[in-house]
């Protein structure tokens, strides 16, 4: 049934996306800080 599939999409899409986006952003921050450290090291 289409309605229950949309509800499932709202719930599971929402849950996965919310937690996933925070994980992605934290990893991204980690990569960015590594890169800026590397750049500093290269500059020195």
């Amino acid at each position: 049934m289409i309605a229950s599939e949309i509800i499932a999409l709202i719930l599971y899409g929402g849950v996965t996306g919310s937690i996933g986006s925070i994980v992605i952003l934290l990893l991204y921050m980690l990569v960015e800080s590594r890169r800026s450290h590397d750049n500093k090291d290269a500059g020195e």
């Binding site: 049934m1 309605a3 229950s4 949309i6 509800i7 499932a8 709202i10 719930l11 899409g13 929402g14 849950v15 996965t16 996306g17 919310s18 937690i19 996933g20 986006s21 925070i22 992605i24 952003l25 991204y28 921050m29 990569v31 960015e32 800026s36």
Partner: protein, 465 residues
């Protein structure tokens, strides 16, 4: 239900802990924000997290829940698309905004003053006064929705009478704003982001399993609100009103302009805004789902309080208390920022230049606190008579729209002069405010159409250089 005395004790302890954390964090946050904002060193990830932390607030929890409860399946989806989409639309203008402003500009009102500085009477810069008063009105409306939200949460979880909940929520908010909320809003924002993006999905999963999973919720909706199961269950005018007011409010958000200025380059600002828009959407879906689940229960629920009422009815009291603490903490920081921001604007534009000619720090602080107290009390009165949280938020967003239209047009043509822009913003603001009180749809349309038409007329006939 949670015991009322226990709730009050826990809230008081939370307020003290929050204030101490704020004082400890204030120095660190101040030096961090000076470093990043003044130095324009915000990286993509940091910018995105900062925007999300400010955007995912207690408003999202309540307004998303209300959208799901009122409009069924369409509610959460449209809420997610409208708010996320508005951030993505701002990305289109981000490069222009960054290029068109001198370095050192840190806010949208400052940009207006700089770009349209010729609108003056004597020594008074009209845009400066206009934006100051406009912000006072808009921010008081937003703060009132925080007070109303706090009242709904307290009422839902403890079973208290609404008026008493409103009074208690208001008093707690005001005391925190005056004593604790002067510190470290940014730090609290990040903690709030963690709560909403991680705790709320867990609450949503718990709610779903308590109501028999997706199957149980679908059956509940078929029984209690079958009309909300389709994707055409809501009126098109609601969708337009919602999208236009959110778009205007987002384009005019001083905080987002500040983030654009703080970015390293225009491309970073654009990518961060698009990422924030995309990452906001799932959180909005989760908030909307909780309201939708509330509709499936068939309980008699106040739409604006759908989220806390579902939690109160479905979650065990201990988890309900965690939700309450998370919610109140999130709402406190926003409320304190709003009320103290208003006090600062009134101090800088009216009280200090005209009434407080002698400069004394202790006197200034006392007057600021009195002004914050008055604004706080005002929010209780507005919250008492407002139709709902979504209404208050959308009204305040619609009212933000008029000044941003001439500002955006002014990014692309020099023919729009100071007086044209000022007239467009002022007429748009007054016109849309009056119309909105009678009809929200036409009010929102007016907030866009009046400034566009007036700006175009001035461009065609005037062409101020």
């Amino acid at each position: 239900m949670i015991d009322i005395v226990l709730t009050l004790i826990v809230l008081t302890i939370l307020m003290v802990v929050w204030t101490i954390l704020g004082i400890i964090g204030a120095k660190w946050v101040k030096s961090m924000s000076d470093y990043f904002l003044a130095g324009q060193r915000m990286s993509i990830a940091l910018l995105t997290i900062t925007i999300l932390a400010a955007w995912e607030s207690h408003y999202t929890v309540l307004a998303g829940g209300e959208a799901g409860y009122r409009y069924g399946l369409v509610g959460p989806i449209w809420y997610a698309v409208a708010v996320g989409g508005a951030l993505i639309v701002l990305a289109v203008f981000a490069a222009r905004i960054k290029q068109a402003t001198p370095s050192g500009t840190i806010s949208f009102p400052q940009f207006l003053r700089y770009r349209f500085s010729n609108a003056k009477v004597g020594n008074v810069n009209l845009f400066e006064q206009f934006t100051a008063w406009e912000i006072l009105i808009i921010v008081t409306l937003s703060a009132a929705s925080s007070t109303l939200g706090g009242a709904y949460v307290l009422q839902a979880l403890t079973g208290m009478n609404f008026d008493i909940s409103l009074l208690i929520a208001g008093i707690f908010y005001i005391v925190y704003s005056i004593y604790g909320g002067l510190y470290a809003v940014a730090l609290v924002d990040v903690m709030q982001l963690g709560m909403i993006a991680i705790l709320l999905p867990i609450v949503a999963l718990y709610v779903s399993s308590s109501l028999g999973g997706i199957e149980g919720i679908t059956t509940g909706l078929m029984k209690n609100a079958p009309e909300l199961l389709g994707l055409t269950s809501t009126s098109v005018t609601w969708m337009y009103t919602f999208f236009l007011s959110l778009l205007g409010g987002t384009l005019a958000a001083p905080f987002l302009w500040q983030m654009i200025y703080a970015s390293r380059n225009p491309r970073h600002a654009q990518i961060s805004l698009v990422l924030s828009g995309i990452f906001f959407m799932p959180v909005a879906l989760v908030c909307g789902f909780i309201g939708l689940a509330g509709r499936a229960t068939g309980l008699n629920i106040t739409p604006s309080a759908a989220s806390p009422q579902v939690v109160a009815n479905v979650l065990p009291p201990s988890l309900g208390l965690v939700y309450l603490l998370g919610f109140v903490a999130a709402a406190w920081s926003t409320f304190a920022a709003n009320v103290n921001g208003n006090a600062a604007i009134l101090m800088a534009n009216v009280i200090a230049p005209y009434f407080l000619k002698e400069k004394s720090e202790s006197k200034n602080l006392l007057v600021s606190r009195i002004v914050a107290l008055i604004f706080g009390l005002l929010t209780i009165v507005i919250a008492k008579y407002a139709p709902g949280i979504l209404w208050l938020l959308m009204f305040s967003y619609a009212l933000r729209t008029p000044p941003v239209i001439p500002a955006l047009i002014g990014l692309y043509t020099r023919r729009l002069g100071s007086w044209g822009a000022f007239t467009a913003a002022l007429l748009g603001f007054i016109g849309s405010a009056i119309i909105y009180l009678y009809n929200s749809f036409y009010g929102t349309i007016a907030a866009w159409v009046i400034p566009i038409v007036v700006s175009l007329v001035f461009i065609i006939i005037g062409g101020e250089k």
